[in-house]
């Protein structure tokens, strides 16, 4: 009985190890290395060369999201210094010391095609809509671990530090307005058309057209977000290096795909841990038998009850 069971388990292990290794090594490239673009992906196109820094989008954003204006700076103007728990969208100024051309920069969630925040979120509180591709936050699932504030390469999600019921604040592309057939708050007020809203494919065509029409105007004749970080749904055109706008050069592979490759392979279908567990049980059954035998011997020798 014992031998047959052992044989059974050994056989399973012998078959299981190659199978698990095969699963780990092969099945995942489809999961990590190909990032699908959502069918109806919408996004923003921000052209830094057109932006005049009027900050109309900042107050429109707060109004559209029912957020009180952040006037904590001087108790008068809505002039937050960075994204925060009241500010989903902000205009920043890049002004070089040497007098070379500066630029405004609009910062909000990039709605990455493979978002690092959602990859790290333990209970899917941050999730990407399979159709529109909007990355949004669900209060009922968030445990407030603040891992998203660590993982986001653009440092967008912000945690509310005050109060017993903190929330995570980030741009959700005004999805409540989209449902009503309206455009996001920031794009609806922009006087120069520096930020426009539309399907991602259309925005990409528009951006390419602008680059074609005025060659040399844009940095590297490149659209930030076309492939950067695996592609984002907020696209940027700029005349200064993107890094100066606060957009790090992350390469064409998304952060989760690049960094969690082995983590994901290891836990694919839980195959490897399961095989490891089966092997451990085998080893420990044998150890336990030997150990109990020894304890029994000690018990006889000392006359005291064995301690496991």
């Amino acid at each position: 009985m014992d031998i047959t069971r052992r044989q059974l388990i050994t056989t399973i292990a012998k078959a299981g190890v190659p199978a698990a290794v095969a699963v780990t090594a092969s099945a995942t490239p489809t999961l990590t290395e190909h990032i699908p673009v959502p069918s109806a992906a919408v996004g923003l196109l921000y052209d830094a060369t057109v932006c005049i820094g009027c900050k109309a989008c900042v107050s429109a954003c707060a109004a559209a999201n029912d957020t009180p204006p952040d006037t904590r700076g001087d108790e008068l103007h809505q002039a937050p210094s960075d994204l925060n728990e009241l500010t989903r969208n902000i205009i920043k100024l890049y002004k070089p010391e040497d007098g070379s051309p500066g630029s405004f920069s609009k910062r909000q969630c990039m709605h990455c095609l493979d978002p690092a925040c959602a990859a790290g979120c333990p209970f899917q509180a941050l999730s990407k809509d399979p159709e529109t591709g909007i990355v949004s936050w669900t209060a009922e699932k968030c445990i407030g671990c603040r891992y998203c504030t660590i993982t986001c390469p653009y440092h967008v999600p912000r945690f509310q530090w005050l109060g017993f019921n903190p929330r995570v604040t980030k741009c959700e592309l005004c999805r409540h307005r989209l449902a009503q057939g309206l455009k996001p708050g920031c794009t609806s007020v922009c006087p120069t058309g520096a930020v426009i809203f539309g399907p991602r494919t259309v925005l990409l065509l528009e951006a390419k057209k602008r680059i074609q029409q005025s060659p040399g105007r844009y940095y590297q004749d490149r659209i930030y977000g076309e492939t950067d970080n695996g592609g984002t749904q907020a696209l940027y055109l700029s005349h200064v290096p993107f890094e100066k706008l606060g957009l790090p050069e992350l390469g064409p592979e998304s952060v989760p795909a690049r960094t969690l490759r082995w983590q994901r392979r290891f836990y694919q279908y839980f195959a490897l841990p399961a095989v490891l567990y089966a092997g451990l049980v085998q080893v420990i059954r044998k150890s336990l038998a030997g150990h109990e035998h020894e304890l029994h011997e000690d018990e006889k020798r000392t006359g005291l009850r064995a301690q496991l």
């Binding site: 960075d82 994204l83 925060n84 959602a118 990859a119 790290g120 979120c121 333990p122 209970f123 899917q124 509180a125 209060a139 699932k141 968030c142 445990i143 407030g144 671990c145 603040r146 891992y147 504030t149 660590i150 993982t151 390469p153 440092h155 945690f159 530090w161 005050l162 109060g163 019921n165 903190p166 992350l250 952060v255 989760p256 960094t259 969690l260 983590q263 994901r264 836990y267 841990p273 490891l276 567990y277 451990l280 049980v281 080893v283 420990i284 059954r285 150890s287 336990l288 030997g290 150990h291 020894e294 000690d298 018990e299 000392t302 006359g303 005291l304 009850r305 064995a306 301690q307 496991l308």
Partner: protein, 437 residues
């Protein structure tokens, strides 16, 4: 026994620390800290994290997570590292350290997880943990949260039951049939439980390292590497050996117990090999990634790196030397130095070497430090109660008989210590001499 050199101090049996009161001045101070921590935790639940901590938008994680959870559970991985040495690699003498390892692990994990509940901004949503289809299976943090709580609540708690059951067994002869029945059941499931107790920590201690992979460039290149999970796991193994063996030595010093240098030397040998292996991987990784020149910049990152390397090297060297000389003093210092080095390593990627932006700073607030210390005190207080009431600390066989005599002749009125009811000393009628002082 046969073939082995004579060792008067051979640890053969775990014996409670008897004859010392549980409530001491130190214990009362711990209680004060625990109470303060609970009060401040209550305040934090009402006021939010901002007023009680130094955390900010750039440093979203403070010492509650990065020290109490990430660093202290590495120290508390003894049940994993010592257990694997004993059960998987069958280092038989390591079994005498197992109860210490299991207890320290359980306390470190329990206190860390409690504080994790305080640190989470919306802890009421933790109930999602019972719905597996809601998990984000590929999130390192989900892996950590689920594995850790599962590990502390199931395998670790169950593995800590034998000393408790043993106490009940000695406490009252009427309880014995029931206790023995539970013990038999426990033994039949032990292989499955013990294996789980090695699989789960292996998974979550490495996933703790994987947490910072997603932070990318914001972790200094001396620390950010695809090997972070392996290095985190490796650091946990030698740190926990240091914690278990070091704590045991400290207890032996404090309560005047004999030290079994056979066991301690073997533990030191294993630890020093773990340290050299870990350091080798750490240095090779830095060299092959081409990050080695950043170690020679004159900045705080290089300083932290060299401090960490110097401490682990010094600790490893002292341990190696103590293996040859069998001298407990350098061994103890070696354990402390190497563990502190490992602690600095585990603390760095999230805090010391984390640079979200150039002007960001984090320093824990006073309340934050008090709460952190309070939850550490909870673990220490639990440890003190446990070693004084349960058979945790290993001792030579004669210590058990000494305890018998102590309770029989000096404190005949103590019933509640439970170990010596009537004439029951062992499983049978006492055959061996009890009065051999």
């Amino acid at each position: 026994m046969s073939g082995e050199p004579l060792n008067d101090n051979r640890w053969e049996r775990c014996v409670p620390v008897y004859g010392f009161p549980v409530v001491t001045r130190f214990f009362l101070w711990l209680m004060v800290l625990i109470l303060l921590a609970f009060v401040f935790s209550g305040y934090r639940e009402l006021a939010g994290l901002g007023p009680v901590s130094g955390m900010n938008d750039a440093f979203g994680w403070g010492i509650w997570k990065t020290f109490n959870l990430m660093v202290l559970t590495a120290l508390g991985s003894g049940a994993f590292a010592v257990g694997i040495a004993a059960w998987v690699f069958r280092r038989k003498r390591m079994f005498s350290l197992m109860r210490m390892a299991l207890l320290t692990s359980f306390l470190a994990y329990a206190c860390g997880l409690l504080l994790l509940g305080i640190d989470a901004g919306r802890p009421w949503n933790f109930y999602w943990i019972v719905f597996p289809w809601r998990w984000n299976m590929h999130s390192p943090l989900a892996e950590v949260a689920i594995c850790m709580s599962l590990y502390a609540m199931l395998p670790l708690a169950i593995e800590n039951l034998p000393p408790v059951l043993e106490r009940l067994w000695y406490f009252d002869s009427r309880l014995r049939p029931g206790v023995e029945k539970i013990e038999r059941r426990l033994h039949s499931v032990f292989p499955w439980i013990i294996s789980l107790a090695y699989l789960l920590p292996g998974m979550h201690q490495s996933s703790l390292g994987a947490l910072m992979l997603l932070a990318g460039e914001r972790v200094h290149p001396l620390w950010q590497t695809p090997w972070l999970p392996v290095l985190y796991l490796g650091a946990a193994t030698f740190m926990s050996f240091g914690c278990v063996a070091g704590t045991t030595m400290l207890c032996c010093l404090m309560w005047k117990r004999a030290m079994d240098m056979d066991v301690l030397t073997e533990a030191a040998r294993i630890t020093s090999w773990l340290i050299w292996g870990w350091l080798g991987l750490r240095i090779l990784d830095i060299v092959f990634r081409g990050a080695v020149e950043t170690a020679f910049h004159f900045d705080r990152f290089a300083g932290v790196f060299w401090l960490e390397v110097a401490l682990t090297v010094a600790g490893g060297w002292l341990l190696k030397r103590s293996v040859e000389t069998r001298d407990p003093q350098p061994m103890f210092i070696g354990y402390i130095l190497s563990s502190v080095g490992g602690m600095i390593y585990r603390f760095s990627p999230t805090t010391l070497a984390f640079r979200p932006n150039p002007e960001a700073l984090y320093f824990p607030a006073t309340i934050e430090i008090i709460v952190s210390l309070g939850f550490i005190s909870l673990g220490i207080a639990g440890f003190l109660v446990a070693v004084k009431r349960l058979a945790i600390l290993p001792a030579p066989l004669h210590a058990w008989h000494d305890m018998a005599n102590y309770f029989r002749f000096r404190r005949p009125y103590i019933r509640w210590t439970g170990y010596f009811q009537g004439r029951y000393f062992g499983s049978e009628e006492p055959k061996t001499a009890q009065g051999d002082d």
